[in-house]
């Protein structure tokens, strides 16, 4: 069902947990399927210095969360805003069709975090 890369990110998720004193926090939840994700960001000079996540969800949701954190590290906020859920799924080498919707939380949480950061910092 899942490819090896997905299994790898699920089995050894990167950047798990809560950052201390994060510069921004983003949240998202699929009301229907019940998955939720929280994303933590450290931002310096408009760049994502550090990132971590916490996810309640299926294998696809966890792997997507982990994948996203790898994708955004070092990116500017503008660049990060352009990452879509599809990009995350693609970077994972694809997800089973029925599972695609489960990957729809990672980019959403990221965008939410960036928006929160900009709001707080008046950008």
């Amino acid at each position: 069902m899942y490819n090896e890369k997905v299994i790898d990110h699920f089995s050894n998720p990167r950047n798990v947990g809560e950052l201390e004193n994060p510069d921004a926090v983003g949240e998202t939840g699929s009301f229907k399927c019940g998955d939720t994700m929280t994303l933590y960001l450290k931002v310096e000079d408009g760049r994502i210095e550090d990132v971590s996540f916490q996810t309640f969800g299926c294998g696809a949701a966890i792997a997507s969360s982990s994948m996203l954190t790898e994708m955004v590290k070092g990116k500017t906020l503008d660049e990060a805003m352009e990452i879509t859920n599809q990009d995350v799924a693609d970077e994972l080498g694809g997800l089973p069709p029925l599972k695609l919707h489960c990957s729809n939380l990672a980019a959403d949480a990221l965008h939410n975090a960036i928006e929160n950061y900009r709001k707080e910092n008046g950008i």
Binding site: F10, C33, F56, G59, I62, C102
Partner: protein, 389 residues
């Protein structure tokens, strides 16, 4: 990676036992005739088919002519409910429970759309239907009650004896979906007032694609499929002979020394349950005692079922979950909702269903790996706060 293979999904399906397969093989090879054919080839097969029917009937405490062969549990359920409604001709009231298998529930919903009012009885927090609610739900035009013998997800046994008696008192037909019970617990139809009972061979180490419907003598139903004269026209079509022979053999095997086997299975089950309940924030779903000997269903708070399944699978353990993400639909199991679990808890449910072949070693293995899996996933979870140590 896969250090071991442990199959704990017997509620979904079971392996065919070698003795069962052996009984089937001659019917693929030399005895290939059509049982409806008049020639020697056909007659030989007809004889064996009827012997299989007698054997199944005897084990269930029924008569041979009360057994109709079908293609499985789904078909048996559909024939019982729709066949009765069709025979009746006019609209009437149906009573069922809110935790039936979809092959009963969705038929009831379909009949409801067609104008038959349906009462979906609630269950208590253990998943039990209270016979009193059955009695109260009866209307003057109630014509059938369908309550499963045991639930496939949480394993709760229903008081079908009491419900059967209530139905009989009121001269209402009673159907029970016993797909999960046949093969796990003894059943004597001469002692329970049941008009229809569904069973499916692949749940008791028989082949997939074959089942039976018990139809009490004297009860008339209309067929759903029409065609030849097979199975008293209730289920026409060339009979799945090897499948039927296999089902009969499987039932025979599973029924020998069943009390003892059920007892052993219950012991395994209880070991697994008590081991799992040692983990923090784990809830047992279903009834603590009145449950299938092979059924364990627990919810792990803060984590999601499919990710637990996947972790188990990566370590060679096959189980199942009532989580939305594992069913392809978006909603969690209707059974877990009916017993009052909130969405998050329902999503974290796992069913381990034990069966023929499972050993104490299997239980040890699962109890060894599951705390690690749960711990790892909880560390990722946004809602889990580890207890202060």
């Amino acid at each position: 990676m896969k250090s071991r293979q442990v199959y704990m999904d017997h509620g979904a399906t079971t392996p065919v036992r070698e003795e069962v397969l052996e009984a089937m093989l001659p019917f693929y090879r030399e005895h290939y005739g059509n049982p409806s054919s008049l020639h020697a080839q056909g007659r030989a097969v007809r004889r064996e088919l009827e012997t299989a029917r007698e054997k199944i009937a005897e084990i269930l405490g029924a008569e041979a002519k009360e057994i109709i062969f079908t293609s499985g549990g789904t078909e048996s359920n559909n024939i019982a409910l729709r066949g009765t409604a069709k025979k009746k001709g006019t609209k009437g009231h149906i009573i069922t429970s809110s935790i039936e298998h979809h092959a009963v529930l969705d038929v009831c919903r379909d009949l409801e759309k067609e104008g038959h009012p349906v009462t979906y009885l609630p269950v208590d927090k253990y998943g039990r239907v209270d016979p009193q609610t059955v009695k109260e739900a009866i209307q003057p035009d109630t014509f059938i009650i369908s309550i499963m013998a045991a639930n496939n997800e949480i394993g709760t046994l229903q008081p079908i004896k009491e419900i059967g008696s209530i139905a009989a008192e009121h001269k209402i037909l009673f159907h029970t979906d016993a797909v999960q019970v046949v093969g796990q617990l003894p059943l004597d139809l001469s002692k329970i007032k049941v008009d229809f009972l569904s069973l499916s061979a692949h749940k008791f180490n028989g082949p997939k694609g074959v089942g039976a419907l018990y139809v009490r003598k004297g009860v008339r139903i209309n067929p759903i499929y029409i065609g030849g004269g097979q199975e008293r026209k209730i289920r026409p079509g060339t009979e799945n002979v090897p499948g039927i022979i296999g089902m009969s053999r499987a039932l025979e095997l599973t029924s020998t020394g069943m009390e003892e086997k059920s007892e052993k299975l219950s012991q395994l089950r209880d070991r697994l349950i008590s081991g799992l309940l040692k983990i923090d924030e784990v809830i047992l779903n279903g009834h603590p005692e009145e449950r299938l000997p092979g059924n364990v269903n627990v919810s792990f708070e803060h984590i999601e079922g499919e990710s637990i399944l996947l972790s188990l699978d990566l370590q060679g353990v096959a189980a199942s979950s009532g989580s939305a993400c594992s069913s392809g639909s978006l909603d969690p199991s209707h059974v877990l909702s009916a017993i009052g679990l909130d969405h998050h808890t329902a999503h974290g449910s796992i069913r381990f269903s034990l069966g023929y072949g499972n050993s104490n070693n299997d239980i040890d293995y699962v109890l060894e790996i599951i705390p690690l899996i749960v711990d790892k996933l909880r560390r990722i979870s946004p809602t889990y706060k580890p207890k202060a140590i």
